[in-house]
C-alpha cells in the first residue's frame, strides 16, 4: 500500500477534500438562493404566464444564455477582478466561490424554470380559481408541486459544481482539483491524481444517490 502510493500525503488530501466540500457547500447554497428566485422570475415572465413581461424575460433569458455559453475556465479568468472586489482574494476557497456561483446560477435557474413548467397548468388554474394571489400560487402551489423537479435540479447543479471546483484548481482555487493538477499533472505523481479522481467520483456518486432518494421521497405521483 505504502509502496504503491509513495507520493501521497494523506493529511494534504484530507485538507483538499474539506476545501472541495466547503467550495461545493458554499457555492451550492448561494446558487440556490439566487437561482431559485431567478428561475421563478423566468417562469412567471415568460409568454402566456401570470406576469408575462416579454422585455424582462428577454433580458434575463439572454444574460442567462450568455453566461452559460462562456466556458467555465474563461469565466474564472474573467471573474478575477470581481472576486477580488467581493472577497479580497482570488485564491483559495473564498476566492473560488463567487465564480462558481456565477457559473452555476443561470444553469440552475433554467432547470428551475423547466421544473415549474412541468407543473400541470390545471393546478395553477384551480389555485387561481380559489382566489389565490400570484405570490400564493408560487409559494403554495407551484413550488410544492415542482419540489421533486427542483431537488433533481439541485442534484445536477451540485454535480456540475463538483467538476467546476476541480477546474478552479487551475488558478489555485484549492481543493481536490488543485491537488490533482499540481501533483498529478505538473509533477507526474500519477498516484495522487488517481486518489483525487477516485475521491471526486465517490463524491459525485454520493450526491447523485442522495438526490435520487430525496426526489423519490418528495414524489407523490
Amino acid at each position: 500500500m505504502n509502496q504503491l502510493f509513495v507520493n501521497i500525503d494523506w493529511a494534504e488530501i484530507w485538507t483538499a477534500t474539506l476545501d472541495t466540500l466547503a467550495m461545493l457547500g458554499g457555492s451550492l447554497l448561494f446558487t440556490v438562493l439566487l437561482g431559485l428566485p431567478l428561475g421563478v422570475l423566468l417562469f412567471l415572465t415568460a409568454r402566456r404566464q401570470m406576469l408575462e413581461q416579454p422585455l424582462l424575460f428577454g433580458v434575463l433569458s439572454f444574460v442567462a444564455n450568455v453566461v452559460r455559453s462562456i466556458p467555465f475556465v474563461i469565466l474564472i479568468i474573467l471573474m478575477i477582478p470581481v472576486t477580488v472586489l467581493i472577497t479580497g482574494t482570488s485564491l483559495g476557497v473564498a476566492g473560488a466561490i463567487p465564480t462558481l456561483v456565477v457559473g452555476a446560477t443561470p444553469f440552475f435557474a433554467r432547470l428551475v424554470e423547466t421544473a415549474l413548467r412541468e407543473v400541470d397548468r390545471g393546478i395553477v388554474e384551480a389555485t387561481q380559481a380559489m382566489g389565490a394571489s400570484t405570490r400564493q400560487i408560487v409559494l403554495h402551489a407551484l413550488l410544492p408541486e415542482a419540489l421533486p423537479g427542483i431537488v433533481a435540479a439541485v442534484t445536477v447543479t451540485a454535480i456540475t459544481l463538483v467538476s467546476y471546483t476541480a477546474m478552479s484548481g487551475v488558478i489555485g482555487g484549492g481543493g481536490l482539483g488543485d491537488l490533482a493538477i499540481r501533483y498529478g499533472y505538473q509533477r507526474y505523481q500519477t498516484d495522487v491524481m488517481i486518489v483525487t479522481v477516485v475521491l471526486l467520483v465517490v463524491l459525485v456518486q454520493g450526491l447523485q444517490m442522495l438526490g435520487d432518494r430525496l426526489v423519490v421521497h418528495f414524489s407523490r405521483k
Partner: protein, 336 residues
C-alpha cells in the same frame, strides 16, 4: 344570480381574431342547476370561465347579483373567486398534498389560521363527500371518482354560493358519473347553491339540471327547462344531442315504420301521467288499435316522463288524439 350581458369573446390566434363566443345573453337563477351543453369547441369552457373571470370577455359584462364583475379590482376579484367553487375534468388536485390538505387549501389561501376550525371544517366536508377514511392519502392513491369527490369537497370549503363544473364527469365511468351527479344534486338541495354544469352528454343534463342552454359555435341556440328542451328539441344541434342520448341514429327512425300501417304519432307523457293507464283507456273509449313502435320511460331530474312512438289504426283515431291531448299528453304526428 348570474347574468351574461351581450358577451363576445375572441382569441388572437396567429394574428387573427377567432371568435369563441358571439353574443351570449342569458341569466342563471340563484339556486338552480343549470346545464350548458355543446360539442367540442362550442365555447362551453370559455363561457363558464367567464363566471370567475379565468377568462375575460372581449365585449359585454358578466353580472353576479347585479354587480358587474368585469369591473372589479384585483382584490375584489380574489374575494369574488372565494365565493365561487370550481371542479374540473382532470380534478386538478395538488399531488404534493394529502386529501385533507387539498380540502384545507382554499381555507389557508383565504387566510384562515385557526387550525382546529380548519380541521373540523375539513372533517365535515370529507364526511359529506364520503371520504373520511381517505383523509391522509395522496391524490395518486385515489380512483377517479374519489378524486372528483375531493375536488367537490375542496370547491365547497369556502362555502361558495356558486359551483362551476367543467366536464366534471367526463373522465369517469357511467356508474361513478351517476354517483358524482347524485352528490351534486344533494349539495344543490341541501346547501341551495347555484350549480353550473358544462357537459357534452345529454344524460348528465337529464339527471341533474333544471334548465339547459345548448351552445353551438359560440351561440346559445336553445335554452329552457330540461324537460322542454329534451322532449321537444327545436334546433338541429339539440336534436342530435337527444338522439345521441337515446342511442338512435338519425334517419333510422321513420324509415323503419314504412311497412307499419296506420297513423304514426309520438306521445310525450310527463309527471304522473307517465304511470297512468292512459293509452289503454283511450283505446277502449274510442275503439281504436295501437301498436308501440318505440319508446322509453325515464326520469328528468326527479320527475318521470315517457315518450312513445305509436301507430294508431281504426276509425276513432282523431277522437283518440283529442282525448290524449285533453289528458295533457303532447301529441306529435310523425306520419299522417
Amino acid at each position: 344570480m348570474i347574468r351574461f350581458q351581450n358577451i363576445h369573446k375572441s382569441y388572437l390566434v396567429a394574428g387573427k381574431d377567432v371568435p369563441a363566443l358571439a353574443g351570449i345573453d342569458f341569466e342563471i337563477a340563484a339556486g338552480e342547476v343549470f346545464g350548458i351543453i355543446g360539442h367540442s369547441g362550442a365555447g362551453k369552457s370559455t363561457l363558464v370561465r367567464l363566471i370567475n373571470l379565468l377568462e375575460r370577455p372581449t365585449q359585454g359584462q358578466v353580472l353576479i347579483d347585479g354587480r358587474d364583475i368585469t369591473a372589479l379590482p384585483d382584490a375584489g376579484l380574489r374575494d369574488l373567486r372565494r365565493g365561487i367553487g370550481m371542479i374540473f375534468q382532470h380534478f386538478n388536485l395538488l399531488s404534493s398534498k394529502t386529501v385533507a390538505e387539498n380540502v384545507a387549501f382554499p381555507l389557508k389561501l383565504a387566510g384562515l389560521r385557526d387550525a382546529p376550525a380548519i380541521k373540523a371544517r375539513v372533517a365535515a366536508l370529507l364526511a359529506r363527500v364520503g371520504l373520511t377514511e381517505h383523509a391522509d392519502k395522496y391524490p395518486a392513491q385515489l380512483s377517479g371518482g374519489q378524486k372528483q369527490r375531493v375536488g367537490i369537497a375542496r370547491a365547497l370549503a369556502t362555502e361558495p354560493s356558486i359551483l362551476l363544473c367543467d366536464e366534471a364527469t367526463s373522465a369517469l365511468d357511467p356508474q361513478t358519473t351517476r354517483s358524482v351527479l347524485r352528490l351534486l344534486a344533494e349539495i344543490n338541495r341541501e346547501l341551495g347553491l347555484t350549480i353550473v354544469i358544462i357537459t357534452h352528454e345529454m344524460d348528465v343534463v337529464r339527471t341533474v339540471c333544471d334548465r339547459v342552454a345548448v351552445l353551438d359555435a359560440g351561440r346559445v341556440v336553445e335554452l329552457g327547462p330540461v324537460a322542454e328542451v329534451f322532449l321537444h328539441p327545436q334546433h338541429p344541434t339539440t336534436r342530435r344531442f337527444v338522439l345521441e342520448a337515446e342511442h338512435v341514429d338519425e334517419g333510422e327512425q321513420v324509415d323503419d315504420y314504412a311497412h307499419v300501417p296506420g297513423r304514426v304519432v309520438r306521445l310525450t307523457f310527463k309527471g304522473d301521467a307517465t304511470y297512468a293507464p292512459v293509452l289503454g283507456d283511450v283505446a277502449r273509449n274510442t275503439g281504436i288499435d295501437f301498436s308501440i313502435l318505440a319508446g322509453r320511460i325515464d326520469r328528468i331530474k326527479e320527475s318521470p316522463y315517457g315518450q312513445l312512438t305509436v301507430a294508431f289504426t281504426g276509425d276513432g283515431v282523431d277522437a283518440a288524439l283529442q282525448q290524449l291531448a285533453a289528458r295533457r299528453i303532447t301529441v306529435e304526428v310523425l306520419r299522417p
